[in-house]
């Protein structure tokens, strides 16, 4: 057994994220590791990689005991990782990037032995038959070549037939045309006798590539199959499980009226390739898709906030401007909150005219508006003047939501409304959106978590490769159907 993991547990604060993960990866196999958002998949990988320490765990790599309960730069030489961002410096050449990971060869004078270094780089790349100019900056190479280099660098120095290589969603950043070439690389790694732990959320890849597959759900591995003995439908069902039954009970918005409030046509962007949609009054419209499918750009496009190349038109039937539609951004820290500012300042920044008296901001008026929202959303905060950085992620997210709703909008755009949010806050957010929708608010929401869409939406558009490929209405909006649709598995 190349990797044997038993009883891995991990808690963050009060949240028990991993409840005993067991995993066996054999030498010479590609072992897929799948799970929905928040299942504990990334946390498991981060513990293995040494970013987090485990509460408890027993782990063996090639029969040697590896302690996981402390944080470490490197766990074991036989356990190596290629992370999604590849950990490379794009401005530097292949030669330098390999040397950054493993050190430079020195000549007798203490300088860099460039000949030996280049020779070593060339041999590393030959492993997969990669032929590129090793002196050019990596940024000039294609994504698949950079991935090959990262894998090759990770395997540097291994004896044939040893080692466990962990690939964390290696195809997420690859254009579709280059995926097959990466598969060949992964197969040749397997054929060399090494073990591959292949983390992915794309079921089609698993059937193309993996020998076995383990499914993690709610912090524990719930099933391990030989890929030949399982169907995509079964995997989707196991991934979804019965989790989140509590949030499913949230009363969904009643059927929307027929009145169209927003019409978007031909939306294009970095990943969108022509998306049309109509939003009706009082409707919560979901947009589902995998990372990179184009779905994540939709709320930004609807709210007129896309930067970079983009096209298409957004028309509000009441004559308003798209740029006035409030947006709950997908990345709370980078795009949502002002960490250096107070709760009040974060909440009122989009609607300062509501707390103004002449040219002057009224501190009293502001405090009363903020206090009102703190109560309505149950925001747990030391006070309106407290720095927002003292709030938990879920409460910060509520402040961002309050910021949007304080503009009394008729249309709201949301991206990943519950990312990093605990289950109670989730339910509260669902409930709030449902009530606002009942009062006439129209919402466009995208989420990588199908649960969100099931809980919120009466209609879901499924986006694949930049286009809408399906529309799910009413009873069709279930997690299993959404997962199958975004993965492109035909409904049974």
């Amino acid at each position: 057994m190349a990797l044997r993991l038993r009883g891995l547990t991990k808690t963050f604060g009060a949240a028990r994220v991993l409840r005993g993960v067991d995993l066996d990866v054999r030498a010479g196999e590609v072992h897929a590791f799948i799970g929905a958002n928040g299942s504990g998949k990334s946390t498991t990988i981060k513990v293995l990689a040494g970013y987090h320490d485990a509460d408890e765990a027993r782990c063996e790599v090639a029969g040697e005991e590896v302690p996981l309960t402390s944080r470490a730069a490197k766990r074991h030489d036989g356990l190596r990782f290629v992370h999604q961002d590849l950990g490379q410096v794009p401005e530097l050449s292949a030669v330098d990037n390999i040397a950054l990971a493993h050190g430079y060869r020195r000549n007798r004078l203490g300088g860099i032995d460039w000949r030996a270094q280049r020779e070593l780089t060339r041999r590393a790349l030959e492993r997969f038959g990669t032929r590129v100019d090793i002196d050019l900056p990596l940024a000039t190479h294609s994504a698949v070549v950079r991935t090959e280099l990262a894998i090759s660098a990770a395997m540097h120095g291994w004896e044939p037939g040893s080692g466990v290589l962990v690939l964390d969603e290696p195809t997420a950043m690859l254009p579709p045309a280059q995926v097959e070439r990466l598969f060949d690389v992964v197969r040749s790694v397997r054929d060399s006798g090494a073990a591959v732990l292949y983390v992915s959320h794309r079921l089609d890849e698993i059937f193309a590539l993996a020998d076995r597959v383990s499914v993690i759900r709610a912090g524990a591995v719930v099933a391990t199959y030989d890929v030949a003995d399982v169907t995509a439908d079964e995997l989707a069902d196991v991934m979804v499980g019965e989790q989140g039954a509590a949030v499913r009970d949230v009363q969904k918005a009643a059927t929307a009226s027929e009145e169209v409030v927003l019409r978007a046509t031909g939306l294009t962007g970095r990943t969108m390739r022509g998306i049309d949609l109509e939003l009706r009054r009082g409707e919560v419209l979901g947009v589902a898709g995998l990372v990179g499918s184009g779905s994540e750009e939709v709320p930004y496009a609807v709210a007129g906030r896309l930067t970079g190349p983009h096209g298409g038109t957004v028309v509000l039937t009441d004559g308003g401007r798209a740029a006035d539609i409030p947006l709950v951004p997908g990345n709370r820290i980078a795009e949502g909150v002002f960490l250096e500012a107070s709760v009040a300042e974060n909440l009122t920044v989009s609607s300062l005219s509501t707390v103004r008296r002449g040219p002057r901001l009224s501190a009293r008026r502001e405090r009363s508006v903020v206090r009102d929202w703190i109560q309505r959303l149950g925001i747990s905060a030391p006070g309106a003047d407290a720095p927002i950085s003292t709030l938990s992620g879920g409460n910060q997210q509520k402040v961002v939501l309050a910021r949007c709703l304080n503009r009394s909008p008729r249309i709201l755009a949301m991206s990943e409304p519950t990312a990093g949010v605990d289950i109670a806050t989730r339910a509260r957010i669902y409930d709030l959106v449902a009530r606002e929708a009942a009062a006439g608010l129209s919402v466009v929401v995208t989420s990588s978590d199908p649960q969100d869409l099931v809980a919120l939406c009466s209609r879901v558009l499924v986006v694949r490769d930049g286009r809408v490929v399906a529309e799910l209405v009413g009873d069709e909006v279930t997690e299993t159907v959404i997962v199958r649709a975004i993965e492109g598995i035909r409904a049974a």
Binding site: G13, R305, A323, D324, P326, L327, P329, A334, E335, G336, V337, F338, L339, E340, A341, E345, T348, V349, S350, L352, S353, T354, V355, R356, P359, R360, L361, R364, R365, R367, S368, V369, R371, D372, Q375, S380, A381, P382, G383, D385, A386, P387, S389, T390, L391, S392, N395, R403, N406
Partner: protein, 354 residues
């Protein structure tokens, strides 16, 4: 130090106020002790200033504790204060304007040149000079905001252009003339009860900037832009327009500083602005550690200017070697920045456990 800071009161759920934004019943929030404003973490520089006064009072009692010293501190720091005030708005939006030294020099030269060579009246000359400052701001803004060049290097470059332009129009000779002492000098030299007129300008500009940054939507949005530009943009804040405006304002205020300096000297010096760059940024950064917990603000900046000015004047009176003044400025700035860093780290640690 942080335990001296009286934090916000615990959340005591006030009685429910089911209200829109119009009703304003203001439920009683427990009164916060006004003494929290006096915490060292809030106005540490004032305490340092008091300690400094005490130190010099003991060191050079005959010369330091006189009203002349008081006036000298205020009068000698007025131009530095104007220069420092000119950079706080861009800094709030996280934009650097390093061209202010060049702007100060050029606007002084423009005003004096117009009066001496072109026999323009003082008001017209001053108007053209202020306009010059604003135009420099517009050009900076076009480079930084429209062409998207990093402000630090862009305004450093435009500062070099301004220096070149100044030398070109003056032939590297200071602009002097008797006519400058017949009206123009009054802008900088008129006395108002021991203080010079520039001190009054500083008071007015400080009051305006404090109101603008601390009490209007403009200021709030400017800070938001500086805290997190992407979040501000997505929240509907017109970040690029604000960044543009910030550079125009700093150009205009630096222009004012240049005119005041030229009037004080009654000459248009071709190197006048250079020494003010470091002093302005030192005061702005030190001032940001005062009152507003890390935000660039007008009153804090003035406290900083006075602290640094008192040190420099006191060291002069004590006949300490001249290098001690730079030593003092550098040390105070570094200590203040370190103190702020740890103050913030303490605040961040307070989040653990939520």
């Amino acid at each position: 130090m942080s335990d001296l800071q009286t934090g916000p009161p615990p959340a005591t759920a006030p009685p429910s106020t089911p209200s829109g934004t119009t009703t304003e019943p203001a439920p009683a929030e427990p009164a916060r002790p006004w003494t929290r404003h006096l915490a060292f973490s809030n106005i540490g520089a004032v305490y340092v200033l008091i300690a400094l006064v005490a130190l010099f009072a003991i060191w050079v009692p005959q010369t330091f504790l006189t009203s002349a010293t008081l006036y000298q501190v205020f009068n000698s720091t007025a131009v530095t204060a104007l220069a420092a005030l000119s950079v706080i708005i861009p800094l709030s939006a996280r934009v650097f304007d390093l061209s202010i030294a060049g702007t100060i020099t050029l606007t002084g030269v423009v005003a004096t040149q117009l009066i001496v060579k072109h026999e323009l009246g003082v008001p017209a000359a001053v108007a053209v000079a202020v306009l010059t400052g604003l135009m420099i701001g517009v050009l900076n803004a076009i480079i930084v905001v429209v062409l998207k060049i990093d402000s630090f290097i862009a305004t450093m470059a435009s500062g070099a252009l301004l220096a070149a332009f100044t030398t070109m129009v003056t032939g590297d000779l200071d602009v002097t003339g008797v006519v400058l002492s017949q009206g123009f000098n009054e802008i900088g030299q008129t006395m108002v009860g021991g203080f010079t007129l520039p001190v009054v300008y500083v008071v007015v500009v400080t009051a305006v900037l404090w109101f603008l940054m601390q009490h209007t939507a403009f200021g709030r949005r400017m800070y938001a832009t500086g805290f997190n530009r992407e979040a501000a943009r997505l929240a509907g804040v017109p970040t690029e327009r604000l960044r543009f405006a910030s550079l125009v304002i700093s150009g205009g205020l630096a222009g004012l500083a240049g005119i005041v300096l030229a009037a004080t000297l009654a000459a248009g010096s071709v190197t006048a602005g250079t020494p003010y760059l470091l002093g302005a940024f030192a005061a702005a950064f030190l001032g940001a550690t005062q009152l507003q917990h890390g935000r660039f603000n007008a009153v804090g900046t003035i406290i900083a200017v006075l602290l640094l000015g008192t040190g420099v004047v006191g060291l002069g009176l004590a006949q300490a070697p001249t290098w001690s003044q730079d030593l003092f400025t550098g040390l105070v700035l570094i200590v203040a920045l370190i103190a702020t860093r740890y103050q913030r780290a303490g605040a961040a640690n307070a989040t653990v456990g939520h």
